[in-house]
Structure formats: C-alpha cells, structure tokens
C-alpha cells in the first residue's frame, strides 16, 4: 500500500511537471533570471576596453565607439573591416537583419506562421533569392576580392551570433518569437540589397493605368495620369531639353505625349475586347491584392551647389532619402578606415558597404529615379506551354517549398516564361519582366552588379572614379548627387534602363523606356537592350551652379529614348528647391539645413488663391467657413504643425478629391482608390474648371468640398477653429518593425506633408480624420557634405539609434535631434586616438 502510494505521488508530480512545462514553458524561458530577457539588457552597449580573439581575419582590427555608439573601424584591409562591421551589425541589429532577410527571401512564415504566407508567396514569385544566389555566384567567380569582403562580413555576423547564443544574449525578439537565427551567408546580404532595389523600382503603375483605361477609358486616364507630369518640363534633374551627346529623339515630344499608349498599336492587346478586358481586370486585381499596399510617398531629396553659388566657395551636397520610418532604423552609421580608404556614412544592416556618405575625396547621396524598369506581359498559355515569337515553348516551373510554422510545407510552383514569372493568380496569365530578374546581360540570369559599384564608390578618389564606378550600378536606378574635394559637383542617373522599339501610328519608330499598359507577351514587345552608359543622363558642373533631384522628371522631353514609364514625383518638391536655390546667389551649409526642413507646400501656393476666388462669392458661407477662408488668405503655405491653415487646406483638398473623382469612379465600377497625384488636380483646377471632374463648375465643387471639409473637422475636433492645428491631424509614428507598440516611438505632431521638401507622407483622405492614421515615411537620413579648405566635412542624422536593444541608451537617442531638425557632426578620424568622445574600444585580434 505504501509503495503504491509513493509511486502515485511520484507519477502525479511528474505529470504536473510536464503539464506546467508545456503550459508555461515559453513564458518561463523568457523570464528565466539567468538566461531570459534580462541578458538582452546590456547587449551591444559596449564600454571600456574589450579584446577578442577570432579566426577569420588577417590582422588586428580596432573598433572605437564614440558617445553615440557609432563604430570607427580601423583595419589593415577592407576584408578585415567587413568582418568587424558584420560583428557589429549583428550585435546591434541581428533581429532586424534576420527579419529583413526573411522578408526578402520569402521565409517569414517559417517563424510567423500562416499570417505571412501570402507575403512569402509574393516574394517567392518575384524571386529575389533566386537572383541573389546567381549574383553571389557570379561575384565569387568574377570578382573574388569583392566576394571575399562579403564572405568576411558573413563570418563576422556569425561570430557574433555564436557569441550571443553562448551567452544567452540573443535579442529580445528572438526570445519573444521563440526561434534562433541561422548562420548568415553572402546570399542573404545580396537578397536584402535586391529587396531594397525591388522596393524602389516595383512600379505597378502599368497595371493600375490599364485598369483605369479599361474602366474609365484611355482619354480620361491620360488626363488624370499624363504621360509626363504637367509641371515637369521646367524643373528636370538634368538641365536642358534632354538631348545628349547631340542625340535627340526624332519626334515631337508633344505628339508622343498626346498618343494613346493603351492602343493596340502600342501594346499588341485589344482592350476593347470585353471578355479579354474582364480577364485582365481580374488578373490585375489578383496581382494588386497579392502585392499588398505600398507605403505612400517613397521618394527623396538631393541637390548640389557648386563653388560659384556657395557661401564658403566650396561645393555642397545635401541628401535625404524618404523611406518608411521604423525602429530599428533602416540605417546604421559607421566609419571605416583602411590604408586605402577612409569612408563614413550609413550602411544597411546586412550589407558591408557605406551606401550614402563621404570619404576623404568624394561625397554622394541618392534619390530614386522612378523610371519604369518593369513591364507586365499578357501571356498565351496552353497545356504547360506559352506562345513566344510564333512558337510554343514549355513553361519553366520552379518549385518553391515554403515552410509554414504550425502547418507544414506549402509547395508553390512558379511558372516562368521568356518574359519572366507569372504573377497573376486569377484571370488572364500576366508575367512581369524586371531588371533585377533580367540581369545586366538581359538574359534572365538575375545577375546585377550594384555591389561591385558601391565597393568602387566607397574607394573613389575623385568624381571621375565615382562616375566610372557607377557604370556597374544596375539597380535600383538612382539620382546620384556628388561633390569632390576639387569642388566638382553634379548628378548622374545610372541604372539599367530597358528600351524597346515601337512603331507609331504614323509609321515612324521610336525607342521607349517602360510602358503605361500591359503588353502582349507573345513577342514583338520584348526589351531590346539597355541604354548604354554613355547615354545615361548626367550633369557635371552645370553652368547655373547647382543641380537638384528630388525624384522629379529626370531629363527634358528630347532625350533620345522616350520615357514612357515615367513614375516621377509630380514635382512640387522640385519646384520648391528650384525656388530656394534660385532665390539667392550664395548658399551656406546652414541654408542647406533650412532647405531640408522646409515645409512650404507648392501645391497649396499654386491653387489656394484660385480656390478662394472660386468660393468667396457664395452668400451662404457659414461664419466658420468664412473664418477658414480668412485663415487661408493670410497663410504663408508652410505646413507647420502648430498652424491651423494646413489642416483646413488638407481637409479642403481631400474633400475636393472626393468631390471630383468619387462619384465618377463609382459610376465606372472602379473599386481601387486610384486618384491622380496632386499636380493633376491642380492642373484641372487651372485648365479644366468646367470639366466633368468638377460637375461642370469648379466653384460649386470647391464650395461643396469646403463645406464637407469644415463639417468633418468640426465633427472630430469641435467648433473652435483655432484648435484645429495641423499637428493634431498629422502625427508621426515610428513603429517597431514587429509592430509592437511598446517598442515603438510614441506618435508626435509632425510638420510637413507628402509634397514638402521636409517629406512627411500623408494621404489626402478625409477618412483619416480622427483615425489612427499616421505619417510613417519621411527623411530616413539627412546628410549635408561640403568642401572646406580642400577637405570634405559633413553633418548627418537619422531617426532612431544604433542599437535594436529596446532598453539600450542607444535605441532612439538620435530621434530628438532629428525631430528638431538638428544634426550631428561627422568627421573622418585617421587613427583610433583621434576619435572624439570615445566610450569603448574593441580590439579584434587574429586567433
């Protein structure tokens, strides 16, 4: 009896232990006083002197951290420096690197389960990882010295991972999500580089315009979405009419712009065929659903000023890329010094190079070019074959097994034609061809050379070196603003720009870049090649003394290739920076800082007087409406978070959008909110006030919109108009990459708008009032570099901090400086002793 009782006690105890472990095991692990979240607390906050012995480097590397935890890496070779950078990236940003890699490679579901399966399917179809593998192989074979930098970087990351695992120091998010990182590989770096490229070039506009052309008709689509921006010609990135090396297009650009590029002669597709059109619509909806919502207002500013227009007599460059703002930030600041290089700026965690920054000889900054480098093709498919150039070819089928946490394996089969992967999941089969998949040889290899380019840029000793390096900059095409210590300055627009020949209705043939519609995929509309580097647009030391590239129209309309895929910013920021740079003879570094924080809204200035005139004659305006007009009359068009006028303007313009397009769109069965950009609405206000868009009368439409705007504001913010300050509507929220609110930066009132130089992306949509809709894009990094007495100096800042550790002092310590438009001085110390305000040193020695 006694034995039985004891055995029963034993059994019950063991069962309870098992039950408790199963029920609370993950929580108990997380809170383990020895190995739980507590070990995260000091991770990456380096202090004092540390010495580590490692395998994988040739000589000792010294890393000195300044008081902002920015590493200054002193190494005898770039390979060793890359090892150290990999180690530091991992210590400060490992989870960010891991989740970004998974996003790029379509592997989120492995850790997040079914909820991210659609995203993974999308990325597997796009095939960034396939391209990354091929590019890495190519790099290893063709440029082993550059590959060895990537390999050393991976080794550094992996050493940090092993160290963190051994000390139970893996970042909090790994513990919360219950998984561990895998070893890092050069392919992972390449995949993230390609994801960045994809994010900056995946223009789905040809699909959206085809959708509108079918629903609304080509003519109206062309009015709302003109071939080139309405206000673009006078503010192009490259000054002049667009001709290059005495080459110019052989047709009148006005004629080309007026053509219906949705016609069968242009696309090989008869959109008037109702059955086919319906199949295309279904396919487009499936693609847009799969790809999800894109962050609004991705763009950037940069400009350069030559010595003749500089207050100090030295060239100046300003750059601020507008990207989604998250924490941890997309950028990580670093300084690398080797015997043949001394370079500083921001890196992308996962990639061992300075992406935007400066060295002792040159400084460079990037903005997105926004020229179409992706076309969509309607395929003819039957029994596993597709029709191409008159013959049926077998589809290439790539199997992509996706592991889904809690569900097993989802086997995706990607069908690929000569044009590219088929991306539609319903309706007509539509494939896409993107330069990142096509590769620099246009052979579908997916091999692109931007890593080689950025390696050479980091080492450039003059602007000529930089320009030569950029011949390898394949994707994403960017406006590269640069200065060098000899006071040369300019902007060049490198990238792979695919062209094809189109026979026009009058029988002439022109070469076009990009498309406005889906194209016939069965042959005749394929890319013929890429624009040769010598014909890439550039302006070097322009006569007027400055150049600017805030994503506007790249070149004048006489460029030898007609740019049909022109997804440029409509140009409000360009108009404003042109205004500022023309406003005085000499500009100082302080002026550049003011320009980067400029919040003047060109669209407001160019339409408010007309709108006020349109409505002020109405006798039934309420006292609040009259007061609103009075406020707008005395406004200086600055989108200041403390002013009321920006709120009234934004609400009025948003209501006018709805007044102009909502009913017509509904009548045509348009379910997608594809409203035109602001320039088109401003153009309609000035040029078509009696059009159907305003119900035949702009005044009536503006009057109704004003009434709707004011009543909406009153409903949300009360009757006191003086309390409707812009900062209540327009709030910035820098969310943690996981979306977890406690790890995010609390929402704060924010200046600016989508189209001010100080970009703060926010849609014109009255439904946003009173809702949790925030500014989530903006200047992800601000840098101003300038030449002073033959040396390059710089200031810079990004929102966030160096460490992803949420309790670190360096988690968000840059935010307040960035938010108040201040900068940090960036220097280029030549030895460890010269680093200012150092707080820690790591000596990495070969072991």
């Amino acid at each position: 009896m006694g034995i039985a009782r004891e055995i029963a006690v034993m059994a019950v105890s063991l069962i309870l232990i098992i039950l408790l472990t199963l029920s609370f095991g993950s929580v108990a692990s997380l809170m383990n006083p020895y190995a739980g979240v507590w070990t995260e607390i000091g991770r990456g906050d380096f202090r004092g002197s540390i010495k580590i012995s490692v395998k994988g480097i040739d000589n000792s590397v010294t890393v000195v951290f300044d008081s902002d935890m920015v590493p200054h890496i002193f190494a005898s070779s770039w390979r060793d420096a890359a090892f150290a950078l990999g180690y530091l990236h991992a210590y400060h940003r490992l989870w960010q690197m891991d989740i970004q890699k998974r996003l790029a490679e379509g592997r989120l579901s492995e850790i997040l389960g079914n909820s991210t399966l659609k995203q993974d399917i999308y990325m597997r179809i796009v095939g960034l990882y396939r391209a990354a593998v091929n590019t890495t192989k190519w790099l290893e074979n063709s440029y082993p010295d550059v590959y060895s930098i990537m390999a050393a970087y991976s080794a550094g990351v992996n050493m940090a991972i092993e160290g963190m695992k051994a000390r139970n120091e893996l970042p909090l998010m790994f513990k919360l999500l219950g998984y561990e990182p895998e070893p890092w590989r050069p392919e992972d770096s390449m995949a993230w580089a390609l994801y960045m490229a994809w994010g900056l070039t995946n223009f789905f506009e040809p699909l959206e315009l085809t959708y509108l052309a079918i629903k609304l008709g080509p003519s109206d689509t062309n009015i709302l979405f003109p071939v080139h921006p309405y206000y673009g010609d006078n503010v192009t990135v490259i000054p002049g009419d667009g001709s290059i090396n005495s080459l110019r297009i052989n047709k009148d650009p006005g004629y080309l712009r007026s053509l219906n590029w949705f016609s069968q002669w242009a696309t090989g597709i008869d959109l008037s065929d109702r059955d086919l059109a319906q199949q295309i619509l279904d396919a487009i909806e499936s693609i847009l659903d799969l790809s999800g919502e894109k962050p609004p207002d991705i763009g950037s500013n940069n400009w350069v000023v030559g010595p003749s227009r500089s207050a100090t007599g030295g060239a100046i460059m300003a750059d601020d890329p507008h990207l989604p703002l998250n924490i941890p930030a997309i950028w990580y600041e670093a300084h690398i010094k080797t015997p043949d290089m001394n370079v500083r700026g921001v890196t992308l965690p996962g990639i061992p190079f300075i992406i935007i920054g400066f060295n002792e000889h040159v400084a460079w900054g990037l903005t997105n070019t926004q020229i179409g480098v992706m076309d969509f093709y309607l395929e003819k498919i039957s029994n596993g074959s597709y029709l191409y150039n008159g013959e049926w070819r077998p589809l290439k089928v790539v199997e992509e097994p996706i592991r889904v946490k809690g569900y097993g394996v989802y086997l995706l089969k990607v069908n690929i034609t000569a044009n590219g992967p088929i991306i539609s999941t319903k309706g007509a089969p539509i494939s896409f061809r993107w330069v990142g998949n096509a590769g620099y040889m246009n052979d579908n290899s997916g091999v692109t050379r931007q890593v080689l380019a950025i390696y050479l840029v980091n080492k450039a000793k003059s602007y000529e070196d930089l320009v030569n390096a950029l011949r390898y900059w394949d994707i994403p095409s960017q406006n590269w603003a640069f200065i060098d210590r000899e006071n040369n300055y300019g902007i060049i627009i490198p990238g792979l720009f695919p062209y094809r020949s189109v026979r026009l209705p009058d029988g002439d043939v022109v070469r076009v870049i990009g498309s406005r519609s889906i194209l016939n995929g069965s042959g005749g509309y394929a890319w013929e090649g890429y624009v040769p580097y010598e014909q890439i647009p550039r302006t070097i030391n322009p006569q007027r003394g400055w150049a600017a590239a805030p994503n506007q129209m790249s070149v004048g309309p006489y460029y030898p290739y007609f740019i049909l895929g022109s997804w440029w910013d409509p140009g409000a920021r360009a108009q404003r920076i042109y205004q500022l740079l023309s406003s005085k003879d000499k500009h100082s570094v302080e002026d550049m800082m003011k320009y980067q924080s400029d919040i003047y809204l060109w669209y407001a200035s160019s339409s408010i007087p007309t709108l006020i005139r349109a409505v002020e004659g109405y006798r039934d305006l309420s006292p609040v409406e009259l007061k609103a007009l009075e406020i707008l009359r005395s406004w200086d068009y600055r989108m200041d978070k403390n002013l009321v006028a920006p709120t009234i303007w934004w609400a009025w313009f948003s209501a006018l959008y709805d007044e102009s397009f909502a009913k017509i769109y509904t009548d045509h069965g348009i379910k997608l909110r594809l409203y035109p950009t602001e320039d088109a609405l401003v153009w309609l206000i000035h040029n078509m006030p009696s059009s159907k868009w305003f119900g035949g009368n702009l005044s009536d439409a503006a009057r109704k919109a004003l009434s709707k705007a004011i009543s909406s504001l009153k409903a949300i913010y009360g009757d006191d108009i003086n309390s409707w300050v812009w900062g209540k509507v327009h709030r910035l929220y820098i969310a943690h990459l996981s979306g977890l609110k406690p790890l995010s930066i609390e929402p704060v009132p924010e200046d600016g708008a989508s189209a001010t130089l100080m970009n703060a992306g926010f849609q014109y949509d009255l439904r946003n009032l009173g809702r949790e809709v925030f500014v989530r894009t903006g200047p992800s990094w601000r840098i101003i570099a300038y030449v002073e007495r033959g040396s390059i100096k710089a200031y810079g800042i990004y929102p966030g901090g160096q460490s992803e550790n949420p309790v670190s002092d360096y988690y968000k310590n840059f935010f307040d400086t960035w938010y108040s438009y201040k900068y940090r001085e960036l220097d280029l110390p030549t030895n460890p002793e010269a680093v200012r305000s150092k707080i820690a040193t790591i000596d990495i020695v070969p072991g």
Partner: protein
C-alpha cells in the same frame, strides 16, 4: 542541530547547485530539477520538510538575480515596463508568474524524488525482512 540537518544544509546545497546551473546557462527547467536533487537527498524523508526546503531554495535561486539586476541596472526596469506594456500585466506579476512556476516545479521534483527514496527504502526493508 536538527534544524541545520533537516533544513539549512539541504537549502544551502540546493541554492549552490541552482546558482551553478544558472551561471552555466542551463535551462530554467533543469535548474528547477537540479535544485530538487540535493534537497531531496539531504532533506528528511518527509514531503513537508522537502517542500519547505525546496520553496526556500528555489525562491532564493530565482529571485536573487532579478532583485540584483533591478537594483544594479536601471535598464532592467525599462525592460519590465516594456514587457508590462506588451502583456498588459503589472511588472510584479510578470516576475511572479514564472517564479511561481519554477518553485512549483522544483517542489514537485523534490516530492517525486523523496517518494522515490521512500520506495527504495521500502523495497530494501521488504527484501531484508
């Protein structure tokens, strides 16, 4: 003397083993069970004594490092605030729940081992008898 033999020695041995396990980076489950082994061996063959000893030993092993961290490093409270915001629980509860789990598991392990000891003794007694 009985107090030392029945409680103090077993508790101290449990604490030492537990801390060594923690410092070696063992999982919390193994630490809880490790604590129970010397406790059960050194404690009298009474479930009550074993339970008291194991509660005291595991309480010390699991709370001491947290109290030390909170008092030494202000970032610990930041972490607790974050976890509190994520879970919606107060930081005291966040700390208490897993510690209770560790203690209960240690206690159950201790009782199980003491029962095993008793069975062994019983069987040996029967064989001798």
């Amino acid at each position: 003397m009985g107090m030392f033999r029945d409680h103090i020695y077993p508790i101290i041995s449990g604490i030492i083993i537990g801390i060594v396990g923690g410092v070696l980076g063992l999982d919390w489950l193994w630490i809880s069970i490790l604590i129970a082994i010397p406790l059960a061996i050194l404690s009298p063959n009474s479930a009550r004594a074993g339970a008291i000893n194991s509660i005291i030993a595991s309480l010390v092993v699991f709370t001491a490092p947290i109290i030390t961290r909170i008092s030494m490093d202000p970032r610990t409270m930041r972490m607790l605030d974050i976890l509190s915001s994520i879970t919606g629980l107060s930081w005291q509860v966040i700390i208490a729940i897993p510690i209770i789990v560790y203690i209960v598991i240690s206690l159950l392990a201790c009782i199980a081992i003491i029962s095993m000891k008793r069975v062994t003794i019983e069987l040996r007694t029967k064989r001798i008898g």
